[in-house]
């Protein structure tokens, strides 16, 4: 069944040929799974996985005031980036809530490349244009001209190495470069959303299908699998990487979401600074914590969290965690319930089910 109203990535035919189960993901026709979420999840942790993330949004910020605009909208400091370096950052409203979280790539002193969430692309572009008023800068949405593949897992480097002469070992975490992969000029960064080593590869859409097929073919001996959005979510969740709409939203600040290290309050004026400084001074009224179930049950997004019969917060993400074989969750609670080992309850179908606060990330790869 094909829903003609849904947007398609350049790899739609590949997904269908591989027998993926397709879903409507924020208006995109995307693969949620191929062989199965658990098998795909384990392949990325133990071997390698290939993701189509072409739905992600890409925006160029160019011109003499490029850095001024970027640093005005983000909470992290792009002024500290070196050429070909990347940072992760929230982007806030004046009241401290989050517009989106994104990656900023420094292409040149007057050129930054921003990678944003698919469902927020239009909103982010408009936000950037609005904030660019009075600045000597051009904002260009290049999402439609950009395909993106993510190759993740301990075997990612050896698989990608079969398709390029570039010295991949020299490409460090959160750095990028431009080079040929299977003869096609790509922008390749050592980044990802899984908690594993790996790469994100940006290239023109017309070459995406060929490269997708090629990576799966050369990675076959190493056990590579195509990975859908289902496992992408369980992988990022175990690594405590936030998902916009769950751990982040216009109603949640980066400080509440535990992203304080990406908020540079000593930086010159930026959107949300005043509100965030105030929040830090006054203290948080809620905090993101990780927890594991003590009693039987799986926490799910929006389930209430309780203690002593009173509601104390809500679950932002919850799932069976394949790498841990446990049922775990992330949720927002009043700070007095945030200490490790605090017993809380997840309200599942009207019943309080015992859980306890544990440290995050739930999963961390061995260095």
């Amino acid at each position: 069944m094909t829903n003609a109203a849904l947007k398609k990535t350049p790899l739609n035919a590949q997904h269908r040929k591989l027998g993926a189960k397709m879903v409507d993901f924020g208006g995109w026709d995307m693969p949620v799974q191929y062989s199965g979420i658990l098998e795909e999840h384990r392949a990325v942790r133990a071997k390698a996985g290939l993701f189509d993330v072409s739905h992600m949004g890409e925006v160029y910020v160019m011109g003499p005031d490029a850095l001024r605009l970027v640093n005005k909208v983000i909470t992290n400091d792009a002024g500290k980036l070196q050429l070909k370096q990347i940072l992760y950052t929230p982007m806030c409203y004046e009241h401290g809530g989050v517009v989106d979280d994104l990656l900023v790539y420094k292409m040149a002193d007057d050129h930054y490349f921003l990678v944003v969430n698919a469902s927020n692309t239009d909103k982010d572009y408009e936000w950037l244009v609005k904030n660019a008023q009075g600045l000597d800068v051009t904002v260009e949405n290049i999402s439609a001209k950009t395909a993106q593949l993510a190759l993740q897992g301990p075997k990612a480097e050896s698989i990608l190495g079969k398709l390029t002469d570039y010295d991949l070992a020299s490409l460090q975490y959160y750095w990028f470069d431009s080079f040929r992969v299977d003869g096609v000029e790509c922008l390749v960064s050592r980044t990802g959303y899984t908690g594993e080593d790996g790469f994100e590869i940006y290239l023109p859409p017309e070459f995406a299908g060929l490269l997708w097929d090629k990576i799966l073919a050369v990675g076959q001996d190493e056990g590579i699998l195509p990975i859908g959005l289902g496992a992408r979510d369980t992988l990022r969740f175990e690594a405590r990487l936030p998902l916009y709409g769950q751990e982040l939203s216009s109603e949640i600040t980066p400080l509440e979401a535990g992203l304080g290290i990406f908020v540079k309050l000593d930086k010159a004026d930026f959107n949300g600074k005043e509100a965030l400084v105030k929040q830090k001074q006054e203290g948080l009224t809620r905090r993101l914590v990780g927890f594991e179930m003590i009693e039987r049950g799986i926490p799910r997004s929006h389930y209430p969290l309780a203690a002593d019969g009173r509601e104390i917060g809500w679950v932002s993400t919850g799932s069976y965690a394949p790498s841990l074989d446990k049922n775990i969750g992330l949720g927002f609670v009043s700070p007095r319930f945030a200490a490790l080992d605090t017993e809380i309850e997840v309200v599942i179908r009207g019943k309080g089910v015992k859980a306890k606060v544990i440290k995050t990330p739930f999963y961390k790869r061995e260095a």
Partner: protein
């Protein structure tokens, strides 16, 4: 996979094996495939009463939560603890090891409403 001919079925994708007044209940191959990897099952306890057409338990995959609907009314007389401990058997053996409960039915005529394997497969064909 074909659905066993000796079982009865519901439109909510449960199966029922009827042996006198004892009815064993599980979910169908179609249901487990639609769910994906099953990671959690919640069932009533022995002695609980269940009512035809109403939820008696829950089955959860990595991404979804679904109610289990009772094909018949009666008292739960056996619960499969193995399926609680190893929910993945719902995917691997839905008609065998992943049986869920045994119900003792009060009204034997209730089973007449259930679908035969052929009727269930016709129903599935209409869904696609």
């Amino acid at each position: 996979m074909t659905n066993p001919r000796d079982l009865k079925y519901t439109k909510e994708h449960e199966w029922a094996r009827i042996e006198g007044n004892r009815v064993t209940v599980g979910i169908t191959h179609y249901a487990q495939e639609a769910l994906g990897d099953v990671v959690f099952v919640e069932l009533p306890g022995v002695g609980d009463k269940i009512i035809e057409g109403e939820a008696f338990g829950t089955v959860e995959s990595v991404k979804s939560v679904s109610d289990l609907y009772a094909p018949v009314s009666g008292e739960v007389v056996e619960v499969n603890d193995n399926v609680l401990d190893s929910p993945e058997t719902v995917n691997t053996d839905p008609y065998g090891a992943a049986w869920m409960i045994v119900v003792e039915i009060a009204d034997p005529t209730e089973v007449d409403k259930l679908l035969s394997a052929e009727q269930y497969e016709e129903f599935l064909a209409e869904q696609d």
